[in-house]
């Protein structure tokens, strides 16, 4: 793996405190005027009378990290972004907990929300991550992303 390819994976749920720390870490970067964050949260979807209680995430981690690195490089080339951070859960995340966190920062707001949306969409489409939805009766189904 290339030295500058970062590990996006976090064991279990992403804590709101981690998000606060990530935000606070940008206070020294006084060229930044705006941040946009996307957070994915596990929904208690109902399927045929059963309710999702958690998602168990697995991945081909090395490729997922590589793919996210490339998505970041392309976004930096396309948008005037100062900072970009991507985190995704691995393992079990309960309903209501956070499993995905994408964070972009720039001097100005223009295009920032659009850039965030594109990056989130690309990660969902291109990163080899797999979600297994666990129901309240311990049965499961494999999550499918709709675009």
């Amino acid at each position: 793996m290339k030295a500058n390819v970062k590990n996006i994976f976090v064991e279990g749920a992403i804590a709101p405190e981690k998000i606060a720390q990530s935000i606070a870490a940008h206070q020294a970067k006084t060229g930044i005027g705006g941040h946009c964050l996307f957070l994915g949260q596990v929904r208690a979807d109902e399927v045929a009378g059963k309710t999702v209680t958690a998602i168990d995430f697995s991945a081909q981690r090395e490729m997922a990290n590589q793919v996210c690195h490339q998505i970041k490089e392309k976004a930096f080339a396309k948008y005037p972004i100062h900072c970009m951070h991507i985190y995704h859960s691995i393992g079990t995340v309960k309903t209501g907990e956070l499993c995905f966190f994408v964070f972009v920062s720039a001097a100005h707001r223009t295009d920032l929300a659009q850039a965030l949306d594109k990056i989130v969409q690309q990660i969902k489409a291109e990163a080899p991550i797999f979600g297994k939805e666990i129901f309240d009766d311990q049965s499961h189904q494999w999550k499918e992303n709709k675009y």
């Binding site: 499993c99 990660i123 291109e126 297994k132």
Partner: protein, 78 residues
Amino acid sequence: MTQRTLTYYGKLAELTGKSKEEITTEAHTVGALKDRLIDRYPALKKVSFKLAQGQAIADDKDLLTDTNIDVFPPFSGG
């Protein structure tokens, strides 16, 4: 005949009943290996799957260049 290590992910580990296996095959292209896998696991005929080598998704017409091949169901991160 070349020996390759296949790694199955997510739903495909469930369908094939294994997460990793070594197979020896005459397939030279990604498409040929996919056909070979469908012969081996008929359940794969009904699902969408992709192969990756060298940390990148491979097209059916690509030559197999790596001994380690990842077998992926549709991605569902996020």
